[in-house]
């Protein structure tokens, strides 16, 4: 990591300047992460009175547990569906908003502002629209002959949290796609147009390849969002149910740790999720760095 060529002398001053951030990082990030790792190797009783070293037992048990496998599979479906839905809509809106002149500013504002809405609130908003007896959308679906009840139907509950999670995140991807589109030279598109390429071909052959870095970046960001930040969406609406239909990994960590007080298992689950999220972040960071250097 580079620093400045011209620097100030001294060790005490930079140490003091770094102290607040390092202290908070070590106390609230590094130490707890280390504790997660340690906790995963021990079996604690529910009252925290004693613990025995159990090695990798918590992990072996975890990977042998069909409930955990189900939650893992469910989380993958949830994360990829949320990411795909959100990015497809964002790309569609960005490509169209980039092409229109009239009303462009209004569209951009309207498509951008949900960024400020908390995931938990996004959840409650859609929970209301899909309320089986009074929700606007649920009644619409009922009128079409589709019986909607996410309190009983697990698939519908999952659909509900996917929609709410994706809705909240569309604006983020929209802004990045829009910025990506604006860096594409118009001369390139005009040249293709003169060569007889129609709008769809231009999009597929020129725009899409040039948007690949943005797409990759957004895919990773949205997956991390779906793995972690959607806790609020689920906790405020379906609470993991019905049954375990919307118990994603993050919700299960919370449930097992804070409600069932199965601390060893919860810690092991934390370590697994940490590994998943950590590697996604690393991949992304390396990728961005490469992009900057080229």
């Amino acid at each position: 990591m580079r620093g400045k060529r011209v620097t100030f002398p001294g060790i005490a001053v930079p140490a003091l300047l770094l102290a607040p951030q390092l202290a908070i990082t070590i106390i609230f990030f590094v130490w707890p992460a280390f504790q997660s790792l340690r906790g995963a190797l021990f079996q604690q009783d529910a009252f925290g009175l004693g613990e025995n070293f159990v090695g990798l037992d918590n992990f072996t048990k975890l990977f042998g547990d069909p409930a955990y496998a189900a939650s893992f599979g469910l989380t993958l479906v949830f994360a990829f569906a949320t990411t795909a839905l959100c990015m497809a809509l964002a790309l569609l809106f960005a490509a169209l908003a980039d092409g229109v002149v009239k009303g462009a500013a209004i569209y951009k504002s309207l498509l951008t502002w949900p960024y400020a809405v908390a995931p938990a609130i996004a959840g409650v908003l859609w929970w209301f629209l899909f309320n089986p007896t009074i929700g606007l959308f649920a009644r619409g679906l009922n009128a079409l002959g589709i019986e909607w009840n996410h309190y009983l139907n697990g698939g519908q509950a999952l659909t509900l949290v996917i929609i709410a999670s994706a809705w909240k995140q569309v604006s983020y991807s929209f802004l990045f796609f829009l910025a990506g589109l604006q860096t594409i030279p118009k001369s390139l598109l005009e040249a293709a147009s003169l060569d007889g390429a129609d709008g769809f071909t231009r999009f597929r052959k020129i725009v899409l390849p040039l948007l690949m870095p943005t797409t990759f970046f957004l895919a990773v960001t949205n997956l991390v969002y779906a793995f972690c930040d959607t806790f609020g969406v689920i906790h405020a609406t379906t609470a993991g149910g019905p049954g375990t239909a919307t118990t994603t990994l993050i919700y299960k960590i919370y449930q097992d740790g804070f409600e069932a007080l199965d601390l060893g298992s919860s810690a092991a689950q934390s370590v697994v999720l940490m590994a998943v999220v950590g590697s996604l972040t690393l991949i992304q960071f390396r990728y961005i760095e490469r992009n900057i250097h080229y």
Partner: protein, 282 residues
Amino acid sequence: MAATRFRPAKVASHAVLIVGSTLMVLPVYMAFVASTHDLSRSLTGLPLWPGPQIIDNYRLLLGEGMRSFGLPPIGPMLLNSLIVALAITFGKIAISLLSAFAITYFQFPFRVLAFWVIFATLMLPVEVRILPTYEVVASFGLLDSYTGLSLPLIASATATFLFRQVFMTVPDELTEAARIDGAGPLRFLWWVLIPMSRTNIAALFVITFVYGWNQYLWPLLMTKDTAYYTVIMGIQRLARASDFQPQWHLVMATVILALLPPVIVVAVMQKQFVKGLFETEK
């Protein structure tokens, strides 16, 4: 190209954008509508336009609230959210400016190690270390306190890296001039670097305020005492208060009040918001 010529592709573009914009607005609009009718209208079929109960509902919410359900009043929850969001925002900006300054403008042992410790926060979101972080905060006696709600969230690698990048673009001649004039490092930070980072600070303010205001899991773990509830986590309690149907008119009025502050900040500081969004992702 004649702009006025009728083109089906243009019409289709506008149609899709209108549908998209509607989808982005509709959930909040319906929440607003529900907050302006009495509960029975929500239960029997909500009209698509606002009703006459708006003043009564919001007055009820801000006054009595849902106390009859054993829930805390809304006003203090909104205030808690504001205190916590501002504490996180100013705390994060302050400690990131200091640490970025240290790793950019000084040569000292363990500089690279410090950089990596800060970097580690990127990979450890609160969600993946829930229990042990809770235990650390509890062992400091910080449960049910503003410090516990904000302090653990103010360390951020992204903000530090952002300021480091800004500082790297500051010409070395300025530093040399400052040193010749006998200005110490803190003077240089205060009088040169911070003024030069004004727009970046504003951008970070918007992003961090939204982040702080919208916290959910953390206050959920940190607070047992309802006096420290923030409004975002409080909504879940409100929505679940009744076994039968939620008090939709009051829940939705809370939703509107809870989403207004961050939405207003983003709307008023739109330029800084977009700048912040792109900068914090580098």
